[in-house]
Point group: C2
């Protein structure tokens, strides 16, 4: 069975935020993103694909389109096809998010 | 922005486990599944689609193919195209899972 304990997959780097893949097929991927304080994923978009962010730990300032919202643990946001999106660790603690994307870009 | 506080979306029924949709497009969906003690999602499969289960609360006995594993909070499992899968709330507490599926069946 393909399974993971996400808490054992976390990895951080002072250089940049880390993307750790949990599951991946031709159709989708599921990653855990790990941000040190101040680190960010810069604005970008995916034509024809959806992305979901779910906060596991910390605080993430999520931008989707022209809107920004601070997500706390247990909160999720969705960037649909073509919507510009970005995340910044807006807290003093580490930020950990589950990220799902489909189809696989 | 499309966002949710998942903890505010939970809903339980003594009749059967509840599926609450969080996000949905033509390409994928993201639900929260809420199980009372003993409730289950019976074995089924999806040709050409992936499903991911992530446990938020409680204990879930997940079957994928011929294997079974008890997932605790923070653990995730992946059922790929054509793999039979099922979940049962194996604990005395309520079971809450994030569920992602792509493409949308």
């Amino acid at each position: 069975m393909a399974w993971v304990d996400v808490s054992e997959c976390k990895r951080f780097s002072p250089e940049k935020f880390q993307k750790i893949n949990l599951f991946e097929t031709d159709r989708m991927f599921c990653d855990v993103y790990c941000f040190e304080a101040g680190q960010e994923q810069t604005p970008h978009k995916h034509q024809g694909a959806d992305k979901i962010y779910y906060v596991l730990e910390g605080k993430g300032l999520v931008q989707i389109g022209a809107e920004r919202l601070e997500l706390l643990p247990g909160m999720a946001a969705h960037a649909s096809s073509g919507e510009e999106h970005a995340v910044k660790n807006s807290g003093p603690e580490r930020l950990v998010m589950l990220v799902f994307m489909a189809p696989h870009p």
